[in-house]
Symmetry: C2
Subunit: 346 residues, 2 copies
DNA sequence: TTGTAGGCGTTATCAG
DNA sequence: CTGATAACGCCTACAA
């Protein structure tokens, strides 16, 4: 059905070697033959077979990316970033939805190996030893996105979670808040858990605010429903809280929702700052102030980095990308007077 | 680096033909040799090279999917569905973010052809002739997701947009609303535009409600920002509206936001029903009532269908999947009395 | 039950 | 400047 290099050679009355040279613009042919060949290519609508090329070159110009959830607002931005980098560099990307499942992840690793992808991206989840061993055996480069490996020196690109959390809380403090609670998601999470908690506590300490463990409340995940539940939990354990740092936008929006249901007005009665700056942050009511991580960029920078490694242009160092406070409408300025007034109420 | 079939053959002291037979479990070997070969495979950690296989079989077990925006809540669910079908059938999927760009789409079509994918999924956008011609030349099956081609009989999987809109409006009417407006997105959109408008109008007519063109308001897209703007526009053109049908959840949530800003309470003063049932519908304030389309399913059914065609098991007919009204909290019951009371106010 | 050999579409190394 | 030809890793007649 599809024309092959042989067809082109025959049509142009040259050898396949010559066609190949022209295709890969290597030296060794006259202008005339080149034009003849080019014409043959056009009329036959010839396009080289990447599979055959891959076989001999041992390069497929294909990347594999493993994400826990293809459709989450978080991962999908990462995906888009990777895709963009791949596109501009002439690579394709195979997406693998791991569903947080070990067997599914291993399955994909095997497929990706069989398909001889040139490199791997691994996102969000922690890189288990079993995965890493398998990847080592594949012998392809790997870069981590929005996550980091503790024991090994695998290149990664992410934000400084501890610092970002610190800045979020510092922002609250700068706005005059002194009674601040935190809705942490799953504290076992190596990236979104402890580091953000540490940042929260450090910010409190650095500004001479007292800290008690009950100011932090934990959940199984970082979801909207957890946010709803956890806000109530947090409020019941602490009196007089005026601001809250939520470890994800979903948690924050869930908190927003719970606040609304219990008659608390945001930001008048309670300020909330989120984490991530997903699309939903713009669309919540009121629009959510949050500390944003550049997810698309993390993806594209990571993709570029991986391709650089593949093509040996590579600095293979981890990279921390800057985060940023996105001011919207869920954090209020809190004057001293206001604070006292509020105390009276309670 | 990686072991080949030849290495296995040598290690097991058989010919590569025998190894191949065992790999593809075809008849023609004794149990003993099989076990010997299997052991060799294990110890060498051999995995077949899918590139070589693809070259000879002319099958890559790879699908290509073209989506306008990888990271939109809408497309990403479709993606996940396709991915899931592919995974269960042993296929991989290459994702292509077209960014609504013609050249980018054509670029992708070319690489997908070069990489010899076994089939194509095309989503959301209209299938331009240039795309279709190129795909025909590729000679691979195609299925359309959440869109449909008018002139040709290409298999598709989608919802009945006209019917879904009709039901949304009928639902509003059943709740006692008689003054209903519509926020349409881009009316040029072949799928999300006119069909939903038609459904809206038809529902009104079938229930003997008057209809005037100004009850519908249009925007450039289906976005949150458009929703904000368009609600105000709609309200200014029509007095006494008690309910609104928005052609997308984003439009609806934008409308929610605008309503809030202008002091209108949803659903007490104004009811709103959306379209899509994206994740955001659960998380809006109040949670959005909407007519849901099963995006994940559309993706997975479409993926299965495509693979069926590839593997010649194929019924190649288009399929309409059922939509469903998802009742949440943005539509109020409207008694006759209430209606009159509201009229007095205005 | 097993092995030999040709070929899938390219690239690359030789000669000429 | 050009053309044979041997790989790449695998599958599959065809023989044995």
């Amino acid at each position: 059905m599809n024309a092959t290099i042989k067809d082109v050679a025959r049509a142009a009355k040259v050898s396949i070697a010559t066609v190949s040279r022209i295709l890969n613009n290597q030296p060794g042919y006259s202008l005339k033959t080149k034009q003849r060949v080019l014409k043959a290519i056009k009329t036959l609508n010839y396009q080289p077979n990447a599979v055959a090329r891959g076989l001999i070159n041992k390069k497929t110009r294909t990347l594999g990316i493993l994400v826990p959830n293809v459709s989450s607002m978080f991962s999908s931005l990462l995906l888009k970033g990777v895709e963009d980098a791949a596109y501009t560099r002439g690579y394709s990307v195979i997406m693998c939805h791991t569903a947080n499942s070990g067997v599914r992840t291993m399955d994909y690793l095997h497929v990706l190996k069989e398909k001889r992808v040139d490199g791997l991206l691994f996102t969000s989840e922690v890189l288990k030893d079993a995965y890493y061993d398998e990847i080592r055996r594949m012998g392809v480069p790997l870069v981590l996105l929005a996550t980091q490996s503790l024991n090994d020196s695998i290149p990664y690109v992410k934000v400084d979670d501890r610092m970002a959390a610190y800045h979020a809380v510092r922002y609250l403090i700068a706005k005059g808040h002194t009674k601040i609670g935190m809705i942490s998601g799953n504290k076992e999470d190596r990236i979104a858990g402890q580091p953000r908690i540490d940042g929260f506590i450090q910010a409190l300490k650095d500004h001479n605010l007292s800290f008690n463990q009950k100011q932090i409340v934990y959940g199984p995940s970082f979801s909207f429903d957890d946010g709803k539940r956890l806000l109530l939990d947090l409020l019941s354990k602490n009196r007089g809280l005026t601001a809250i740092f939520a470890a994800s936008d979903f948690l924050a929006v869930g908190a927003l929702s719970a606040a609304y249901s219990s008659g608390l007005r945001v930001p008048d009665d309670l300020s909330i700052i989120g984490y991530d700056n997903l699309e939903i942050a713009k669309m919540s009511l009121p629009p959510l102030t949050t500390v944003g991580q550049p997810l698309f960029q993390i993806g594209s920078v990571g993709g570029m980095m991986l391709i650089d490694i593949i093509e040996d242009k590579g600095n293979v160092e981890g990279r921390i990308l800057p985060h940023q406070i996105i001011e919207r409408q869920t954090v209020s300025e809190r004057s001293k007077a206001l604070t006292e007034k509020n105390y009276d109420k309670q």
